[in-house]
Symmetry: C2
Subunit: 173 residues, 2 copies
Amino acid sequence: MERLFLLKMVFINKSKVMEKEFERGHHWCRGRVKGFGFRLTLGRDAVLDVLSRTEDHLSAEDIYIRVHETYPAIGLTSVYRTLDMLVNIGLVYKFDFGDGRARFELAEGPKGKDHHHHLVCTGCGRIVNYRDFIDEEVALLKKAEEGLSEKHNFAITNHLIQFYGLCEDCRNK
Amino acid sequence: MERLFLLKMVFINKSKVMEKEFERGHHWCRGRVKGFGFRLTLGRDAVLDVLSRTEDHLSAEDIYIRVHETYPAIGLTSVYRTLDMLVNIGLVYKFDFGDGRARFELAEGPKGKDHHHHLVCTGCGRIVNYRDFIDEEVALLKKAEEGLSEKHNFAITNHLIQFYGLCEDCRNK
DNA sequence: TTTGTTATTGGAAACCATTTTCAATAGGAA
DNA sequence: TTCCTATTGAAAATGGTTTCCAATAACAAA
Ligand SMILES: [Mn+2]
Ligand SMILES: [Mn+2]
Ligand SMILES: [Zn+2]
Ligand SMILES: [Zn+2]
């Protein structure tokens, strides 16, 4: 917490350019990692960098391969360990889209949450992020969460919505 | 199709008792399996029987163990194969609740669909079936499906909603 | 009922994403 | 710079699921 504040203080004395770079990259994640008492290692930083530069839903191996390009020393094991930690502190979401491997995306960008749900093509595995009905969906989910929490004595922390179907390509085949 | 009709004809000449037994058991599934051109084997019948007698979300091994009690000759491999087939013909749903194994439930009872969604306890893995907001949820999902189908050119066939949280037991620990 | 065809089976081995183990290394507070 | 120990990479283990293949059983036809 104090760490995040310190970074902000620095910005006030630096140029607008640097602030823009901060917003673009994953630098804002670093304070979060350290805030939880974890060491910010080259591998962890590289994994965050890869995740922050894509809208895709990468598997552990996808991430391993991409990180390898700029930091060849990394091992697949560490990618798994890093992802596990990032999921635990809530910085990353872990999904199962039914293709036998876990897939990951950053839970939050520099501009805050970018809540969306997913369309999954059962033909080719394509994943589409959509935000179209998010507001209505979230409103209903919130209401349902309250009702369900009460009735079933559950402390609900999270939800998952996915639609399955065939994308245009797969339909025309 | 004709096969189902034949079964109905038989009932007219049989007792009410037998009709009740039919409604209770999984007999109605059999026509479905054969209707798709699959052989109705002892193993497949036993798997359907286990699935039709529970509200739980069993793993392949759970089912294997239960089937074993009445039909010890069955192999785990066949349970996997049978479940795969039942999912393919739409008689069974396959879920991933995040505990590393697939879980299954009958998609439809003798009285038709019994649509519900799930509450998942991230502490102990408990799954709760709920029907409380199903109508509203399904209404919204239907609307969303239409919008999303059009906008993203997806032929949506299915959806998934799950809430994650802590059950009462896990909260008090 | 018997027969013939072949879909289905059980068991063993293979598969493969993920986890564990362990000695070597590097982050970062002092 | 030093020291402590969290973190690492490589190799091996794990465990759910799939593949392989010869034996078997479902069931249409006779
Ligand atoms: Mn996404
Ligand atoms: Mn259920
Ligand atoms: Zn597709
Ligand atoms: Zn629980």
